[in-house]
Each structure stands twice: as C-alpha cells, then as structure tokens.
C-alpha cells in the first residue's frame, strides 16, 4: 500500500493530460473570438480577394495550431496561374 504515497514512476502522462486540457479549455472558454469566427474570417478574406482577382470558393485554406504561449494561423490562398498572368500583364 506504499504505492499510494509514491509518485507514479513515469511522471508525465498524467500531467500531460492536465496541461492539454488547460490549454484547450482556456481557448474554448476564453474571451477570445467566437468559435465560428474562422468560417466568417474565411468568407471575409475571400470577399476581399475576389474584389481584385477571381479565385475559387474553396481556394482558401486555413490552418491553426494553438499553444499555451502562442497560437498560429496559417492562411493559404491558391491563385490560378491565369489570374497571376493577367494581374502582372496589366
């Protein structure tokens, strides 16, 4: 029964769980943007781009990676090569 007073040998997995949950819940409950803002952001980005060049509706690819220190937002927009040629030709 000494085991109850001992720390688990492999420290890590339990605290990893706690840390992951804290990061996740902080993001979910935080005063940050609403959970669906990315869909709206995507629409706004597309609208802005489409005012200048023609891109497909699904040409925007948004990726995020949340961390406790900082989160990154990666946005890739696929421009058709024709559009590029036209844009540079003008």
């Amino acid at each position: 029964m000494f085991g109850f007073f001992k720390k688990p040998k492999k420290a890590g997995s339990g605290s990893a769980a706690k840390e992951r949950l804290q990061i996740l819940l902080a993001h979910e409950k935080g005063s940050g943007p609403s959970p669906d803002y990315l869909a709206l952001l995507q629409r706004d980005i597309l609208d802005a781009i489409r005012r200048h060049v023609h891109v497909e509706k699904d040409a925007v690819d948004i990726r995020v990676d949340r961390d406790d220190e900082l989160s990154s937002l990666e946005i890739n927009i696929e421009l058709p090569s024709q559009t590029m040629a036209q844009a540079t030709g003008q």
């Binding site: 085991g3 992951r20 959970p35 669906d36 995020v64």
Partner: protein, 272 residues
C-alpha cells in the same frame, strides 16, 4: 472499395472513442487510407484522443452546412500520413446532423479513403443513429458487465432495423463484430465478471477482439496518442490483432492480461 465502419455501444464510457482511434490508426498503419469521424456533436473528444485538438479549424457540421469544404475540415495525422481526422462541432447541437448532409460527406470521403470509421456517441439519439445509418459494418464495443451487454444487444437491434442497409428490405443487415474491452482476466478467473463465452452466447455475433484492461489505455488518452501508436502493451497488440480480423485475417483471439498487474494497475483503476 471503401468501407464505412461504425464503432458503437449504446452505453457510454466503454471505450468507443479509444477503440475508434486505435482501429483507425491500426488500419492506417497497415497502409489503408483511413478517415475517422467524430459523431458526438457538442461533446467532441476524438480530437483529444487523437492528439490534434489544437489544430481543429473547421468541423463536420461546418462541412454539412456548407461553411467549409471537406478538405479544409480534415486534419491530417502527423504520425501517419494516410490517416485523417474529421472532428465534430463543440458548439452546435445534434440536430445539425442531417441525413442528407451525413450521406453527402460520407460519399465524398468514400472517393478518397479505403476505410471511414464513424465514432458514435453514447445513447440512441440522433448522433448515434446517424453514425450507424450508412455503415457497411459495425464494431460493437462492450464491457463484460450487465448494462453494457444489454445496451449492446439494443444497438444490434437498431443496426438490424434503423440503417440504410436494413431499410433496403432485402434481408441484409449490417454485419456486426464484438469488441470486448476493459477485460480483466484476473476478475474473470475469480468469477466476478462474465467471460468472453458468456458475452458471445448472449450477443451471438462474431468476436473481433478482446482488449484487456490496461494502464496503457489511460496513458494513451493522456498524451493524445492512439493505443496502437503508443508504447507496446498487450492492449496495443490486442487492437492490432482486432484490426487484422477487421480486414479479414483469420487469427485466434488470445486473451492476455497486461504483464504488470497488481498495485500499479489497481492504482490506475482507482483514478479512472
């Protein structure tokens, strides 16, 4: 040809998400292009079990409602590049899962993936119904315990009546496999738990595998790594063998407890 497999149980907490994650990672490990979908709208957890919770941008519901394309919502696993996760929404409710929407997404996934694993929520409400509706096969996750076995029996009834296959009316049902989880050979030896044979006799479906109670399962969920991708354990081996049977291998089901039971394991159970 692609296959849609639902992982279901009726009862909660028996290991559906753990099993869906382990089976899909196991299928991907064997080279199959695999996608695992979370049907538990409002209570998503598959993303945590798969360890991709920080990368969720769009979800299943966004795709159904046309706010995002399927490829934008799919998260590629960082360990296995032929494995993708389709997370569900944490904020919407289950009514967002329309039959037409689910069918459309599954059909699109069928074009790209060999296996599509649907992680069902507990219960028999809309989420669970939609997870099984279009299934080609079912994995019924059961613990050797009365309420779990009873609920599994109920799910088998639903698989035989409330699915696209059953509704075709040509007498075909969704083939179901039994995955017995949290199996504790020690307690079975002591006569405290039903045996594999007992459960098989009651449910009368083929056995896909027996997963022993194991600290490796909790450890895997703690760190967000599917059991078959974590440290080697009997549970991981049992899942690997279950994957083999799922793709048609004829192997004998071995039942082996983790080699370090006793105090360590009991400690884990106490906190589970």
């Amino acid at each position: 040809m692609s296959k849609v497999i639902v992982v279901t149980s009726g009862k909660g907490g028996v290991g559906k998400t753990t099993s869906a994650a382990a089976l899909s990672a196991g299928l991907a490990k064997r080279g199959f292009k695999t996608c695992v979908i979370d049907f538990d709208v409002g209570l998503r957890n598959l993303d945590m079990i798969m360890g991709c919770e920080r990368r969720v941008v769009f979800d299943f519901i966004n795709v159904i409602q046309g706010d995002a394309k399927l490829k934008q919502a799919l998260i590629k696993d960082r360990r296995l590049d032929n494995l993708s996760i389709l997370p569900t929404s944490q904020t919407r409710d289950k009514e967002a899962l329309t039959q037409e929407g689910v069918e459309k997404v599954l059909n699109e996934l069928r074009e790209e993936f060999d296996y599509i694993v649907c992680d069902s929520p507990a219960g028999i409400e809309r989420g669970a119904q939609m997870a099984m509706y279009f299934a080609d096969e079912a994995v019924v996750v059961t613990n050797p315990e009365v309420s779990s076995v009873r609920d599994s029996d109920r799910m088998l009834g639903l698989l035989n009546s409330k699915t696209a296959r059953a509704e075709r009316g040509d007498g075909s049902a969704v083939p179901a496999h039994l995955l017995l989880t949290r199996y504790d050979p020690k307690r079975i030896e002591d006569g405290e738990m039903m045996t594999v044979e007992d459960v098989l006799e009651i449910l009368a479906i083929p056995l896909l595998g027996v997963i022993p109670e194991s600290p490796a399962v909790l450890r895997a969920s703690n760190v967000g790594v599917p059991v078959v991708l974590g440290d080697s354990s009997r549970a991981a081996t049992a899942y690997e063998e279950a994957v083999g049977r799922l793709i048609g291998e004829q192997t004998e089901v071995r039942i082996e407890a983790e080699s370090r039971p006793g105090l360590f394991q009991r400690l884990f159970k106490r906190t589970a």
